[in-house]
Symmetry: C2
Subunit: 434 residues, 2 copies
Amino acid sequence: MTRADAWIVTIGDELLRGEIVDSNKSFFSDRLLRLDLESARHVSVPDDPAAIEEVLREAASRARVVLVSGGLGPTRDDITTEVAARAFGRRLLRDAVVLKEIRAFFHSLGREMAANNAKQADFPEGAEVLPNPLGTAPGFMLQAEGALLFFTPGVPRELQRMTDEEILPRIEAQLGRGGVVRALLLRTFGLGESTLDHELRDLARSDPDVTLGFRTQFPDNLVRVLVRAADEAEAEKKLRDVVDRIHAKLGELVLGEGERPLEEIVGELLRERHLTLAVAESCTGGLLTSRITDVPGSSQYLVEAVVSYADESKVRELGVSAADLKAHGAVSEPVAQQMAEGVRRRAGTDLGLATTGIAGPGGGSPEKPVGTVCVALSDAEGTVVRRYQLMRDRTRNKLLASQLALDWVRRRLLGLEIGQETFPRLRGTGGGGS
Amino acid sequence: MTRADAWIVTIGDELLRGEIVDSNKSFFSDRLLRLDLESARHVSVPDDPAAIEEVLREAASRARVVLVSGGLGPTRDDITTEVAARAFGRRLLRDAVVLKEIRAFFHSLGREMAANNAKQADFPEGAEVLPNPLGTAPGFMLQAEGALLFFTPGVPRELQRMTDEEILPRIEAQLGRGGVVRALLLRTFGLGESTLDHELRDLARSDPDVTLGFRTQFPDNLVRVLVRAADEAEAEKKLRDVVDRIHAKLGELVLGEGERPLEEIVGELLRERHLTLAVAESCTGGLLTSRITDVPGSSQYLVEAVVSYADESKVRELGVSAADLKAHGAVSEPVAQQMAEGVRRRAGTDLGLATTGIAGPGGGSPEKPVGTVCVALSDAEGTVVRRYQLMRDRTRNKLLASQLALDWVRRRLLGLEIGQETFPRLRGTGGGGS
């Protein structure tokens, strides 16, 4: 039987009890594709020595690369390391340098290392330690039964960083294929996955060395472009060519290249242009501002935000007309416009951005059902406002409305159209434009 | 080898490419636990005949129950049914009744059935059809190699309904056990997983029918209590007994029973007491308010929030003293106190809640390193304010600071202590209290 490229193994009772949805396996598989390695199997087993040993031996005999996560913690359930040693006939050795580092990690937090943390410095003989700058559990690499095995902690942020910084470079060095693989991610907003697939499939069909993959990260859709070529120059050229054709086809629906979320893209545009922003939120309830402030350095352009949940707060803090509130309701174009203008005026910023809507599940009416959302953007040239009909779900309405608002800022700063004719194809996201 | 209770198998290229995070496996496992059936293995394979056949035969020979999802659709990639027939030596038979139902389903949507949908009426000989009221792909049950196999479509809502209505009753009828199992989740905040494990392990150790599981949902830690007993009454009594002992041991560090997040628990307390809240955020940047507004009906108690990112906004909108800002800095107890008092005064609410801090990665100093956070809570009785030293990571600082602020409200409304002596054990979260 020929070996598969890769198997992914995750370990933990919590997985087999359905207590968490395991995102680590899909992360691993996504990353391996960047090296043109396909995952042939995902397996999860509980914290049981026999089950772990069996699956590790099976994986090592069936795949060239095995990525394992979970069971490296300090508790007595965490037995992956000792079982791996037994599975491949290695002794367990304590690494004095790692032990010192773990002690220092706790010391930096003003704490003493607990006795059970010491076992996190144990590794199977012959293993190469993979540093974990974000936690106390280092990972390790082991070569056994013809496979390259990597063991990582189960905490997503720890294993993600370890994968990118320690694991992928080692796999590339060890398995170095004849050809070269290059991959790029494009973040798009406004088209559903099946529409994207339909629009782009011809780009890949004509060339077997081009693969397109699609992944939804609501409300965005990510397109992964993978090209294979004989050498680096050819690969870069081919990748650029495909990416340029996607840009030509999708235009402004491409938010950017790479993993960067929209709030980072918008932040960079504001910073480059030395512009300031103030935000008035109703239905997004703070989420829009929280996304903006997720970006380090956002205090350079975000001056302030108001979450005016109550009507009287819209009047008092934002200068919305009580008469308009009464005549048109809080979820209306005039109110959204006055919110954007009011917050811009009081904060003295270049831009004022506002949302008001019915997030749900309550509060809908026949004229304004749940998912009715107004967005407004005000600057020195005036104010643009528009009503959308989004979804039924509160969480998704908050997220999608915050995305629309951020995308308006992006479009405004890039000189693209906002307002009436924008997002004609939003329906494709499963949302439905107005 | 004795048979495991259950294996879960999911099928689809999109899983092995990391394009989606598979939540079906954890759903299946969670549901099986209600019948006291433990999942011994989760396996995912691509839409490849050899891989599917291998895993189906392996699962049928190793487990008593096998739940399979994916590959029942109409496209040429959907091959699970024909491979299952081949794997267990059955002919494939077209079911005339099902075919008619699929035609009727399309007819009800005003469409003609496409030719490729006909294969969704094919089943292995001897299979029992499981109706799918939400889609065109029925499931089926097959007994083979001593196992009970259930095949479901991969669409979560379709398989979830099929599991509850068709699959669980059949498993219970076929495997009917003697005992009863009961489970409960406890949400805790302020103790790390290893400390929790250490504090609680004796509760489980003395009784083999009690199992404790731990799961981190940063910054909370969840404890799952699972008990087995001969009958329902005994199981309920045993569960209550263990849960009461955990409450006695952890006290106010238990936020609540069940999955409800802290913002829901706090929301209920505010609603019950008919109290209103206003929020002034700096370092949490809108996240605190966004969490509060994630709860449907939060407009009943949240009046407004201000995210004062700039110093001048703290002065202008919240009435913070410019002299105190200069003397103590924006991240200081006096400023936090004035923010909480200012937002409460201007919104006219019962409670005013404020955060100010250095989320990072920039902005730290030797006296006030990244992670320095002040929380303040103001009500008719006065204002409590305290400084914490949290973490190095921006995202976690926002989340942990919002959690501390929400927990202050919970504690205040329950008459528990906040301030100097609170969270002595927060260090255990890996965070480090002040």
